[in-house]
Symmetry: D2
Subunit: 145 residues, 4 copies
Amino acid sequence: MIDPQSSMRVIHTHPIRIYYEDTDCAGVVYYSNYLRFAERARTEMFRGIGFSNIEYSKCEGITFAVRRCDAEYLKPAFLDDLVEVDTGNLDLQGASFWINQNVRRYRDLLVTMRIRLACVDKEGQVSRIPKQLLTNLQKLNRTVS
Amino acid sequence: MIDPQSSMRVIHTHPIRIYYEDTDCAGVVYYSNYLRFAERARTEMFRGIGFSNIEYSKCEGITFAVRRCDAEYLKPAFLDDLVEVDTGNLDLQGASFWINQNVRRYRDLLVTMRIRLACVDKEGQVSRIPKQLLTNLQKLNRTVS
Amino acid sequence: MIDPQSSMRVIHTHPIRIYYEDTDCAGVVYYSNYLRFAERARTEMFRGIGFSNIEYSKCEGITFAVRRCDAEYLKPAFLDDLVEVDTGNLDLQGASFWINQNVRRYRDLLVTMRIRLACVDKEGQVSRIPKQLLTNLQKLNRTVS
Amino acid sequence: MIDPQSSMRVIHTHPIRIYYEDTDCAGVVYYSNYLRFAERARTEMFRGIGFSNIEYSKCEGITFAVRRCDAEYLKPAFLDDLVEVDTGNLDLQGASFWINQNVRRYRDLLVTMRIRLACVDKEGQVSRIPKQLLTNLQKLNRTVS
Protein backbone atom coordinates (compact mmCIF):
# COMPACT_ATOMS: atom_id res chain seq x y z
CA MET A 1 0.00 0.00 0.00
CA ILE A 2 1.21 3.46 -0.77
CA ASP A 3 -0.01 6.00 1.77
CA PRO A 4 -1.29 8.96 -0.28
CA GLN A 5 -0.56 11.53 2.43
CA SER A 6 3.05 10.62 3.11
CA SER A 7 3.77 8.74 -0.18
CA MET A 8 5.31 5.97 1.91
CA ARG A 9 5.33 2.41 0.58
CA VAL A 10 3.99 0.77 3.73
CA ILE A 11 5.37 -2.73 4.39
CA HIS A 12 4.17 -3.16 7.98
CA THR A 13 1.51 -1.68 10.26
CA HIS A 14 1.40 -2.02 14.04
CA PRO A 15 -1.43 -0.78 16.30
CA ILE A 16 -0.70 1.04 19.56
CA ARG A 17 -3.25 1.93 22.22
CA ILE A 18 -2.50 5.12 24.18
CA TYR A 19 -2.53 4.68 27.96
CA TYR A 20 -2.07 7.13 30.84
CA GLU A 21 1.65 6.22 30.99
CA ASP A 22 2.11 7.62 27.46
CA THR A 23 0.61 11.04 28.15
CA ASP A 24 1.82 14.09 30.06
CA CYS A 25 0.08 16.89 31.94
CA ALA A 26 -0.24 18.93 28.73
CA GLY A 27 -2.91 16.32 27.91
CA VAL A 28 -1.09 14.73 24.96
CA VAL A 29 1.38 11.91 24.29
CA TYR A 30 4.85 12.93 25.51
CA TYR A 31 7.17 13.51 22.55
CA SER A 32 9.80 10.88 23.32
CA ASN A 33 7.20 8.11 23.54
CA TYR A 34 6.67 8.05 19.77
CA LEU A 35 10.21 6.69 19.52
CA ARG A 36 9.16 3.82 21.78
CA PHE A 37 6.16 3.13 19.56
CA ALA A 38 8.43 3.09 16.51
CA GLU A 39 10.74 0.58 18.17
CA ARG A 40 7.81 -1.68 19.08
CA ALA A 41 6.67 -1.59 15.45
CA ARG A 42 10.17 -2.39 14.13
CA THR A 43 10.41 -5.29 16.57
CA GLU A 44 7.12 -6.74 15.31
CA MET A 45 8.13 -6.22 11.68
CA PHE A 46 11.34 -8.17 12.33
CA ARG A 47 9.44 -10.85 14.24
CA GLY A 48 7.08 -11.18 11.28
CA ILE A 49 9.96 -12.20 9.01
CA GLY A 50 11.33 -14.64 11.54
CA PHE A 51 13.86 -12.62 13.52
CA SER A 52 13.36 -11.82 17.18
CA ASN A 53 15.67 -9.61 19.24
CA ILE A 54 16.74 -12.63 21.25
CA GLU A 55 17.76 -14.56 18.14
CA TYR A 56 19.83 -11.69 16.84
CA SER A 57 21.69 -11.15 20.03
CA LYS A 58 21.99 -14.76 21.21
CA CYS A 59 22.49 -16.66 17.93
CA GLU A 60 23.91 -14.08 15.58
CA GLY A 61 25.65 -11.92 18.16
CA ILE A 62 24.29 -8.76 16.59
CA THR A 63 21.78 -6.07 17.40
CA PHE A 64 20.47 -2.94 15.70
CA ALA A 65 21.42 0.45 17.09
CA VAL A 66 19.65 3.67 16.16
CA ARG A 67 22.20 6.08 14.66
CA ARG A 68 19.81 8.77 13.66
CA CYS A 69 16.19 9.64 14.27
CA ASP A 70 14.53 12.67 12.67
CA ALA A 71 11.02 13.16 13.97
CA GLU A 72 8.41 15.67 12.84
CA TYR A 73 5.44 16.24 15.14
CA LEU A 74 2.36 17.29 13.17
CA LYS A 75 -0.58 16.59 15.48
CA PRO A 76 -0.88 15.21 19.01
CA ALA A 77 -2.26 11.82 20.08
CA PHE A 78 -4.49 11.60 23.16
CA LEU A 79 -5.44 9.14 25.90
CA ASP A 80 -7.42 6.12 24.62
CA ASP A 81 -6.49 6.81 20.99
CA LEU A 82 -5.77 3.78 18.87
CA VAL A 83 -2.93 4.85 16.62
CA GLU A 84 -1.01 2.86 14.03
CA VAL A 85 2.66 2.85 13.17
CA ASP A 86 3.29 2.41 9.44
CA THR A 87 6.77 1.28 8.49
CA GLY A 88 8.21 1.49 5.00
CA ASN A 89 10.66 2.96 2.51
CA LEU A 90 13.48 0.67 3.63
CA ASP A 91 16.77 1.70 2.12
CA LEU A 92 19.06 -1.26 2.76
CA GLN A 93 22.83 -0.93 2.78
CA GLY A 94 25.37 -3.56 3.78
CA ALA A 95 25.59 -2.81 7.49
CA SER A 96 22.82 -0.30 8.05
CA PHE A 97 19.51 0.87 6.68
CA TRP A 98 17.19 3.85 6.58
CA ILE A 99 13.54 3.34 7.39
CA ASN A 100 10.46 5.58 7.53
CA GLN A 101 7.92 5.23 10.32
CA ASN A 102 4.70 7.21 10.54
CA VAL A 103 2.23 7.35 13.41
CA ARG A 104 -1.36 7.73 12.20
CA ARG A 105 -4.79 7.98 13.80
CA TYR A 106 -7.00 6.69 10.96
CA ARG A 107 -6.07 9.00 8.08
CA ASP A 108 -4.56 11.67 10.27
CA LEU A 109 -0.79 11.72 10.11
CA LEU A 110 0.50 12.59 13.60
CA VAL A 111 4.26 11.99 13.59
CA THR A 112 6.71 11.10 10.83
CA MET A 113 10.10 9.59 11.60
CA ARG A 114 13.12 8.84 9.44
CA ILE A 115 15.49 6.48 11.22
CA ARG A 116 18.90 5.01 10.43
CA LEU A 117 19.72 1.69 12.07
CA ALA A 118 23.17 0.14 12.13
CA CYS A 119 23.90 -3.53 12.63
CA VAL A 120 26.44 -3.82 15.47
CA ASP A 121 28.15 -6.77 17.14
CA LYS A 122 28.61 -7.38 20.86
CA GLU A 123 31.56 -4.99 21.03
CA GLY A 124 29.46 -2.27 19.40
CA GLN A 125 31.41 -2.55 16.14
CA VAL A 126 29.56 -2.16 12.85
CA SER A 127 28.79 -5.55 11.34
CA ARG A 128 27.19 -6.72 8.09
CA ILE A 129 23.48 -7.54 8.32
CA PRO A 130 23.19 -11.37 8.50
CA LYS A 131 22.47 -12.71 5.00
CA GLN A 132 19.19 -14.44 5.76
CA LEU A 133 17.80 -11.37 7.48
CA LEU A 134 18.93 -9.13 4.62
CA THR A 135 17.21 -11.41 2.11
CA ASN A 136 14.00 -11.40 4.15
CA LEU A 137 14.06 -7.63 4.50
CA GLN A 138 14.60 -7.21 0.74
CA LYS A 139 11.70 -9.57 0.04
CA LEU A 140 9.44 -7.66 2.42
CA ASN A 141 10.51 -4.38 0.84
CA ARG A 142 9.66 -5.67 -2.64
CA THR A 143 6.13 -6.80 -1.75
CA VAL A 144 4.85 -3.25 -2.06
CA SER A 145 6.95 -1.76 -4.84
CA MET B 1 -11.14 -19.49 35.84
CA ILE B 2 -9.43 -19.92 39.18
CA ASP B 3 -5.68 -19.80 38.88
CA PRO B 4 -4.35 -22.76 40.91
CA GLN B 5 -1.05 -21.10 41.77
CA SER B 6 -2.38 -17.82 43.08
CA SER B 7 -5.97 -18.94 43.85
CA MET B 8 -7.18 -15.83 42.07
CA ARG B 9 -10.60 -15.79 40.43
CA VAL B 10 -9.47 -14.38 37.08
CA ILE B 11 -12.02 -12.09 35.40
CA HIS B 12 -9.79 -10.58 32.74
CA THR B 13 -6.51 -11.42 30.99
CA HIS B 14 -4.41 -9.00 28.95
CA PRO B 15 -1.27 -9.92 26.96
CA ILE B 16 1.85 -7.73 27.07
CA ARG B 17 4.90 -8.11 24.85
CA ILE B 18 8.21 -7.10 26.45
CA TYR B 19 10.22 -4.57 24.39
CA TYR B 20 13.64 -2.98 24.91
CA GLU B 21 11.97 0.05 26.54
CA ASP B 22 10.68 -2.21 29.35
CA THR B 23 14.04 -3.69 30.29
CA ASP B 24 17.09 -2.33 32.10
CA CYS B 25 20.79 -3.07 31.96
CA ALA B 26 20.42 -5.85 34.54
CA GLY B 27 18.80 -7.69 31.62
CA VAL B 28 15.29 -7.86 33.08
CA VAL B 29 12.09 -5.82 33.10
CA TYR B 30 12.54 -2.74 35.32
CA TYR B 31 10.46 -3.08 38.49
CA SER B 32 8.24 -0.03 38.08
CA ASN B 33 7.12 -1.12 34.60
CA TYR B 34 4.91 -3.91 35.97
CA LEU B 35 2.71 -1.15 37.41
CA ARG B 36 2.32 0.22 33.88
CA PHE B 37 1.35 -3.22 32.63
CA ALA B 38 -1.24 -3.51 35.41
CA GLU B 39 -2.75 -0.16 34.46
CA ARG B 40 -2.96 -1.17 30.79
CA ALA B 41 -4.79 -4.35 31.84
CA ARG B 42 -7.23 -2.45 34.08
CA THR B 43 -7.93 -0.01 31.23
CA GLU B 44 -8.77 -2.88 28.88
CA MET B 45 -10.92 -4.59 31.51
CA PHE B 46 -12.90 -1.36 31.93
CA ARG B 47 -13.13 -0.88 28.17
CA GLY B 48 -14.47 -4.42 27.89
CA ILE B 49 -17.47 -3.53 30.06
CA GLY B 50 -18.12 -0.32 28.16
CA PHE B 51 -16.17 2.31 30.09
CA SER B 52 -13.21 4.10 28.60
CA ASN B 53 -11.01 6.57 30.47
CA ILE B 54 -12.28 9.37 28.28
CA GLU B 55 -15.91 8.61 29.11
CA TYR B 56 -15.24 8.58 32.82
CA SER B 57 -13.43 11.85 32.84
CA LYS B 58 -15.45 13.70 30.21
CA CYS B 59 -19.00 12.41 30.82
CA GLU B 60 -18.98 11.30 34.42
CA GLY B 61 -16.33 13.70 35.67
CA ILE B 62 -14.57 10.96 37.58
CA THR B 63 -11.37 9.00 37.36
CA PHE B 64 -9.73 6.20 39.34
CA ALA B 65 -6.68 6.98 41.45
CA VAL B 66 -4.37 4.32 42.84
CA ARG B 67 -4.28 4.65 46.63
CA ARG B 68 -2.21 1.61 47.36
CA CYS B 69 -0.12 -0.87 45.39
CA ASP B 70 1.59 -3.81 47.05
CA ALA B 71 3.79 -5.68 44.59
CA GLU B 72 5.71 -8.89 45.11
CA TYR B 73 8.41 -9.74 42.59
CA LEU B 74 8.88 -13.50 42.28
CA LYS B 75 10.67 -14.00 38.95
CA PRO B 76 11.92 -11.62 36.26
CA ALA B 77 10.51 -11.13 32.76
CA PHE B 78 12.90 -10.77 29.82
CA LEU B 79 13.08 -9.10 26.41
CA ASP B 80 10.67 -10.63 23.85
CA ASP B 81 8.67 -12.43 26.54
CA LEU B 82 4.94 -12.54 26.02
CA VAL B 83 3.50 -12.16 29.50
CA GLU B 84 -0.12 -11.94 30.59
CA VAL B 85 -1.76 -9.81 33.25
CA ASP B 86 -4.55 -11.63 35.08
CA THR B 87 -7.00 -9.43 36.93
CA GLY B 88 -9.43 -10.64 39.57
CA ASN B 89 -10.61 -10.80 43.18
CA LEU B 90 -12.42 -7.49 42.93
CA ASP B 91 -13.57 -6.30 46.31
CA LEU B 92 -16.02 -3.52 45.53
CA GLN B 93 -16.90 -0.84 48.05
CA GLY B 94 -18.96 2.30 47.46
CA ALA B 95 -16.21 4.65 46.36
CA SER B 96 -13.20 2.39 46.00
CA PHE B 97 -12.18 -1.18 45.34
CA TRP B 98 -9.39 -3.64 45.86
CA ILE B 99 -8.17 -5.68 42.92
CA ASN B 100 -5.54 -8.36 42.39
CA GLN B 101 -3.33 -8.36 39.31
CA ASN B 102 -0.79 -11.05 38.50
CA VAL B 103 1.81 -11.06 35.75
CA ARG B 104 2.42 -14.54 34.36
CA ARG B 105 4.60 -16.08 31.66
CA TYR B 106 2.56 -19.20 30.78
CA ARG B 107 2.21 -20.91 34.15
CA ASP B 108 5.08 -19.04 35.79
CA LEU B 109 3.87 -16.41 38.22
CA LEU B 110 6.28 -13.44 37.94
CA VAL B 111 4.72 -10.58 39.88
CA THR B 112 1.63 -10.32 42.08
CA MET B 113 0.02 -7.01 42.86
CA ARG B 114 -2.76 -6.00 45.23
CA ILE B 115 -4.10 -2.58 44.36
CA ARG B 116 -6.67 -0.24 45.87
CA LEU B 117 -8.36 2.22 43.52
CA ALA B 118 -10.47 5.14 44.62
CA CYS B 119 -13.06 6.88 42.50
CA VAL B 120 -12.28 10.61 42.55
CA ASP B 121 -13.93 13.65 40.95
CA LYS B 122 -12.23 16.51 39.12
CA GLU B 123 -11.26 18.19 42.39
CA GLY B 124 -9.65 14.97 43.58
CA GLN B 125 -12.43 14.35 46.12
CA VAL B 126 -13.61 10.82 46.75
CA SER B 127 -16.79 10.10 44.81
CA ARG B 128 -19.16 7.12 44.58
CA ILE B 129 -18.52 4.77 41.66
CA PRO B 130 -21.13 5.60 38.96
CA LYS B 131 -24.04 3.15 39.30
CA GLN B 132 -23.86 1.65 35.79
CA LEU B 133 -20.14 1.02 36.12
CA LEU B 134 -20.59 -0.52 39.55
CA THR B 135 -23.30 -2.85 38.20
CA ASN B 136 -21.10 -3.89 35.29
CA LEU B 137 -18.13 -4.52 37.59
CA GLN B 138 -20.29 -6.62 39.91
CA LYS B 139 -21.60 -8.63 36.95
CA LEU B 140 -18.05 -9.20 35.69
CA ASN B 141 -16.94 -10.21 39.17
CA ARG B 142 -19.75 -12.76 39.44
CA THR B 143 -19.01 -14.49 36.15
CA VAL B 144 -16.22 -16.48 37.76
CA SER B 145 -17.47 -17.06 41.29
CA MET C 1 16.45 13.20 61.94
CA ILE C 2 13.20 11.56 62.85
CA ASP C 3 10.35 12.65 60.63
CA PRO C 4 7.46 13.48 62.99
CA GLN C 5 4.76 12.64 60.43
CA SER C 6 5.98 9.21 59.40
CA SER C 7 8.17 8.47 62.47
CA MET C 8 10.92 7.39 60.06
CA ARG C 9 14.55 7.67 61.11
CA VAL C 10 15.79 9.40 57.97
CA ILE C 11 19.33 8.45 56.94
CA HIS C 12 19.35 9.96 53.45
CA THR C 13 17.42 12.59 51.51
CA HIS C 14 17.44 13.01 47.73
CA PRO C 15 15.75 15.85 45.81
CA ILE C 16 13.74 15.17 42.63
CA ARG C 17 12.38 17.80 40.27
CA ILE C 18 9.13 16.86 38.50
CA TYR C 19 9.27 17.22 34.71
CA TYR C 20 6.64 16.70 31.99
CA GLU C 21 7.91 13.13 31.45
CA ASP C 22 6.86 12.26 35.03
CA THR C 23 3.26 13.44 34.73
CA ASP C 24 0.20 12.05 32.96
CA CYS C 25 -2.89 13.61 31.44
CA ALA C 26 -4.69 13.47 34.80
CA GLY C 27 -2.31 16.33 35.65
CA VAL C 28 -0.31 14.48 38.31
CA VAL C 29 2.79 12.29 38.56
CA TYR C 30 2.04 8.82 37.15
CA TYR C 31 1.94 6.25 39.94
CA SER C 32 4.74 3.99 38.78
CA ASN C 33 7.22 6.88 38.55
CA TYR C 34 7.53 7.14 42.34
CA LEU C 35 9.26 3.74 42.20
CA ARG C 36 11.81 5.27 39.81
CA PHE C 37 12.36 8.16 42.22
CA ALA C 38 12.88 5.68 45.08
CA GLU C 39 15.48 3.78 43.06
CA ARG C 40 17.35 7.00 42.22
CA ALA C 41 17.43 7.86 45.95
CA ARG C 42 18.70 4.37 46.90
CA THR C 43 21.40 4.63 44.24
CA GLU C 44 22.60 7.96 45.65
CA MET C 45 22.48 6.63 49.23
CA PHE C 46 24.69 3.72 48.17
CA ARG C 47 27.01 6.02 46.23
CA GLY C 48 27.33 8.17 49.34
CA ILE C 49 28.80 5.27 51.28
CA GLY C 50 31.17 4.38 48.48
CA PHE C 51 29.28 1.78 46.44
CA SER C 52 28.13 2.46 42.91
CA ASN C 53 26.01 0.07 40.85
CA ILE C 54 28.94 -0.52 38.52
CA GLU C 55 31.22 -1.55 41.38
CA TYR C 56 28.70 -4.00 42.75
CA SER C 57 28.07 -5.67 39.46
CA LYS C 58 31.59 -5.51 38.01
CA CYS C 59 33.79 -6.03 41.08
CA GLU C 60 31.56 -7.88 43.50
CA GLY C 61 29.39 -9.65 40.95
CA ILE C 62 26.25 -8.76 42.85
CA THR C 63 23.26 -6.50 42.44
CA PHE C 64 20.17 -5.66 44.48
CA ALA C 65 16.79 -6.88 43.25
CA VAL C 66 13.48 -5.53 44.56
CA ARG C 67 11.48 -8.44 46.01
CA ARG C 68 8.64 -6.43 47.40
CA CYS C 69 7.36 -2.88 47.14
CA ASP C 70 4.34 -1.69 49.10
CA ALA C 71 3.38 1.85 48.12
CA GLU C 72 0.72 4.06 49.65
CA TYR C 73 -0.33 7.12 47.66
CA LEU C 74 -1.52 9.92 49.96
CA LYS C 75 -1.32 13.08 47.83
CA PRO C 76 -0.27 13.80 44.24
CA ALA C 77 2.86 15.60 43.04
CA PHE C 78 2.59 18.06 40.16
CA LEU C 79 4.71 19.48 37.33
CA ASP C 80 7.61 21.67 38.53
CA ASP C 81 7.32 20.39 42.11
CA LEU C 82 10.58 19.85 43.93
CA VAL C 83 9.98 16.76 46.02
CA GLU C 84 12.36 14.88 48.29
CA VAL C 85 12.81 11.18 48.85
CA ASP C 86 13.61 10.33 52.48
CA THR C 87 15.17 6.93 53.07
CA GLY C 88 15.41 5.22 56.44
CA ASN C 89 14.40 2.45 58.81
CA LEU C 90 16.87 -0.01 57.29
CA ASP C 91 16.30 -3.50 58.61
CA LEU C 92 19.42 -5.40 57.56
CA GLN C 93 19.48 -9.17 57.27
CA GLY C 94 22.26 -11.33 55.88
CA ALA C 95 21.24 -11.35 52.24
CA SER C 96 18.42 -8.85 52.08
CA PHE C 97 17.03 -5.79 53.79
CA TRP C 98 13.85 -3.82 54.28
CA ILE C 99 13.91 -0.08 53.74
CA ASN C 100 11.37 2.74 54.03
CA GLN C 101 11.23 5.50 51.43
CA ASN C 102 8.91 8.50 51.63
CA VAL C 103 8.30 11.14 48.99
CA ARG C 104 7.64 14.55 50.52
CA ARG C 105 6.92 18.05 49.22
CA TYR C 106 8.22 20.18 52.11
CA ARG C 107 6.24 18.79 55.09
CA ASP C 108 3.57 17.16 52.97
CA LEU C 109 3.92 13.41 52.84
CA LEU C 110 2.91 12.30 49.31
CA VAL C 111 3.88 8.64 48.98
CA THR C 112 5.24 6.10 51.46
CA MET C 113 7.02 2.96 50.30
CA ARG C 114 8.24 -0.10 52.15
CA ILE C 115 10.68 -2.07 50.01
CA ARG C 116 12.56 -5.34 50.40
CA LEU C 117 15.80 -5.69 48.47
CA ALA C 118 17.68 -8.94 48.02
CA CYS C 119 21.35 -9.22 47.19
CA VAL C 120 21.67 -11.49 44.13
CA ASP C 121 24.63 -12.77 42.12
CA LYS C 122 24.98 -12.87 38.34
CA GLU C 123 22.89 -16.03 38.12
CA GLY C 124 20.13 -14.38 40.10
CA GLN C 125 20.86 -16.51 43.19
CA VAL C 126 20.55 -14.97 46.62
CA SER C 127 23.97 -13.95 47.93
CA ARG C 128 25.22 -12.47 51.22
CA ILE C 129 25.64 -8.68 51.22
CA PRO C 130 29.39 -7.97 50.79
CA LYS C 131 30.93 -7.37 54.26
CA GLN C 132 32.26 -3.87 53.63
CA LEU C 133 28.92 -2.72 52.23
CA LEU C 134 27.04 -4.27 55.16
CA THR C 135 29.35 -2.50 57.63
CA ASN C 136 28.83 0.83 55.87
CA LEU C 137 25.08 0.39 55.79
CA GLN C 138 25.03 -0.46 59.51
CA LYS C 139 27.13 2.60 60.27
CA LEU C 140 24.80 4.80 58.23
CA ASN C 141 21.79 3.28 59.95
CA ARG C 142 23.27 4.02 63.39
CA THR C 143 23.95 7.70 62.69
CA VAL C 144 20.33 8.58 63.37
CA SER C 145 19.32 6.17 66.11
CA MET D 1 31.71 28.94 25.79
CA ILE D 2 32.05 27.54 22.31
CA ASP D 3 32.33 23.79 22.32
CA PRO D 4 35.26 22.95 19.98
CA GLN D 5 33.87 19.55 18.99
CA SER D 6 30.38 20.62 18.01
CA SER D 7 31.05 24.35 17.47
CA MET D 8 27.98 25.09 19.56
CA ARG D 9 27.75 28.34 21.48
CA VAL D 10 26.72 26.82 24.81
CA ILE D 11 24.34 28.98 26.86
CA HIS D 12 23.27 26.41 29.44
CA THR D 13 24.57 23.11 30.84
CA HIS D 14 22.55 20.63 32.86
CA PRO D 15 23.95 17.46 34.52
CA ILE D 16 22.09 14.15 34.32
CA ARG D 17 22.96 11.01 36.25
CA ILE D 18 22.15 7.73 34.47
CA TYR D 19 20.02 5.32 36.54
CA TYR D 20 18.75 1.79 35.86
CA GLU D 21 15.44 3.24 34.59
CA ASP D 22 17.32 4.97 31.74
CA THR D 23 19.06 1.87 30.42
CA ASP D 24 17.86 -1.17 28.48
CA CYS D 25 18.99 -4.78 28.26
CA ALA D 26 21.49 -3.91 25.51
CA GLY D 27 23.40 -2.32 28.41
CA VAL D 28 23.08 1.28 27.24
CA VAL D 29 20.73 4.24 27.62
CA TYR D 30 17.54 3.62 25.61
CA TYR D 31 17.41 5.95 22.60
CA SER D 32 14.20 7.80 23.43
CA ASN D 33 15.44 8.77 26.88
CA TYR D 34 17.87 11.36 25.51
CA LEU D 35 14.80 13.35 24.47
CA ARG D 36 13.70 13.33 28.11
CA PHE D 37 17.11 14.57 29.17
CA ALA D 38 16.91 17.38 26.60
CA GLU D 39 13.50 18.43 27.91
CA ARG D 40 14.79 18.49 31.51
CA ALA D 41 17.67 20.72 30.38
CA ARG D 42 15.36 23.09 28.49
CA THR D 43 13.10 23.32 31.56
CA GLU D 44 16.05 24.29 33.76
CA MET D 45 17.32 26.79 31.20
CA PHE D 46 13.88 28.45 31.17
CA ARG D 47 13.68 28.35 34.96
CA GLY D 48 17.10 30.04 35.10
CA ILE D 49 15.73 33.07 33.24
CA GLY D 50 12.64 33.21 35.42
CA PHE D 51 10.07 31.14 33.54
CA SER D 52 8.72 27.91 34.91
CA ASN D 53 6.34 25.60 33.05
CA ILE D 54 3.61 26.40 35.54
CA GLU D 55 3.96 30.15 34.97
CA TYR D 56 3.74 29.77 31.22
CA SER D 57 0.66 27.65 31.29
CA LYS D 58 -1.13 29.27 34.23
CA CYS D 59 -0.25 32.96 33.80
CA GLU D 60 0.54 33.31 30.13
CA GLY D 61 -1.69 30.53 28.85
CA ILE D 62 1.06 29.22 26.61
CA THR D 63 3.32 26.22 26.41
CA PHE D 64 6.10 25.04 24.10
CA ALA D 65 5.46 22.09 21.82
CA VAL D 66 8.22 20.18 20.03
CA ARG D 67 7.59 20.34 16.29
CA ARG D 68 10.76 18.68 15.19
CA CYS D 69 13.57 16.73 16.78
CA ASP D 70 16.54 15.47 14.78
CA ALA D 71 18.81 13.30 16.91
CA GLU D 72 22.16 11.79 15.99
CA TYR D 73 23.47 9.01 18.21
CA LEU D 74 27.27 8.93 18.20
CA LYS D 75 28.23 6.96 21.33
CA PRO D 76 26.22 5.28 24.08
CA ALA D 77 25.87 6.35 27.72
CA PHE D 78 25.97 3.72 30.46
CA LEU D 79 24.63 3.12 33.96
CA ASP D 80 26.12 5.48 36.59
CA ASP D 81 27.49 7.85 33.95
CA LEU D 82 27.26 11.53 34.76
CA VAL D 83 26.44 13.17 31.45
CA GLU D 84 25.77 16.81 30.68
CA VAL D 85 23.28 18.40 28.32
CA ASP D 86 24.65 21.50 26.60
CA THR D 87 22.07 23.84 25.11
CA GLY D 88 22.82 26.57 22.61
CA ASN D 89 22.57 28.02 19.12
CA LEU D 90 19.12 29.44 19.76
CA ASP D 91 17.54 30.71 16.58
CA LEU D 92 14.60 32.78 17.76
CA GLN D 93 11.64 33.54 15.52
CA GLY D 94 8.38 35.22 16.51
CA ALA D 95 6.41 32.17 17.54
CA SER D 96 8.99 29.39 17.49
CA PHE D 97 12.68 28.72 17.79
CA TRP D 98 15.36 26.24 16.87
CA ILE D 99 17.74 25.05 19.54
CA ASN D 100 20.72 22.68 19.66
CA GLN D 101 21.18 20.27 22.53
CA ASN D 102 24.18 17.96 22.94
CA VAL D 103 24.66 15.19 25.46
CA ARG D 104 28.30 14.86 26.53
CA ARG D 105 30.27 12.67 28.93
CA TYR D 106 33.21 14.96 29.75
CA ARG D 107 34.61 15.74 26.29
CA ASP D 108 32.91 12.82 24.58
CA LEU D 109 29.99 13.90 22.44
CA LEU D 110 27.31 11.18 22.74
CA VAL D 111 24.15 12.56 21.15
CA THR D 112 23.41 15.75 19.23
CA MET D 113 19.89 17.07 18.83
CA ARG D 114 18.41 19.88 16.77
CA ILE D 115 14.96 20.78 18.00
CA ARG D 116 12.25 23.19 16.89
CA LEU D 117 9.84 24.41 19.55
CA ALA D 118 6.64 26.28 18.85
CA CYS D 119 4.83 28.51 21.31
CA VAL D 120 1.20 27.35 21.45
CA ASP D 121 -1.83 28.54 23.41
CA LYS D 122 -4.35 26.42 25.30
CA GLU D 123 -6.19 25.52 22.09
CA GLY D 124 -2.93 24.34 20.54
CA GLN D 125 -2.82 27.35 18.21
CA VAL D 126 0.53 28.95 17.40
CA SER D 127 1.08 32.03 19.55
CA ARG D 128 3.81 34.68 19.75
CA ILE D 129 6.46 34.08 22.41
CA PRO D 130 5.61 36.38 25.39
CA LYS D 131 7.70 39.56 25.12
CA GLN D 132 9.49 39.27 28.47
CA LEU D 133 10.46 35.67 27.79
CA LEU D 134 11.67 36.55 24.29
CA THR D 135 13.81 39.37 25.69
CA ASN D 136 15.31 37.09 28.32
CA LEU D 137 16.05 34.39 25.75
CA GLN D 138 17.73 36.93 23.46
CA LYS D 139 19.83 38.21 26.36
CA LEU D 140 20.85 34.67 27.29
CA ASN D 141 21.69 33.94 23.67
CA ARG D 142 23.91 37.01 23.43
CA THR D 143 25.97 36.21 26.52
CA VAL D 144 28.10 33.80 24.55
CA SER D 145 28.26 35.36 21.10
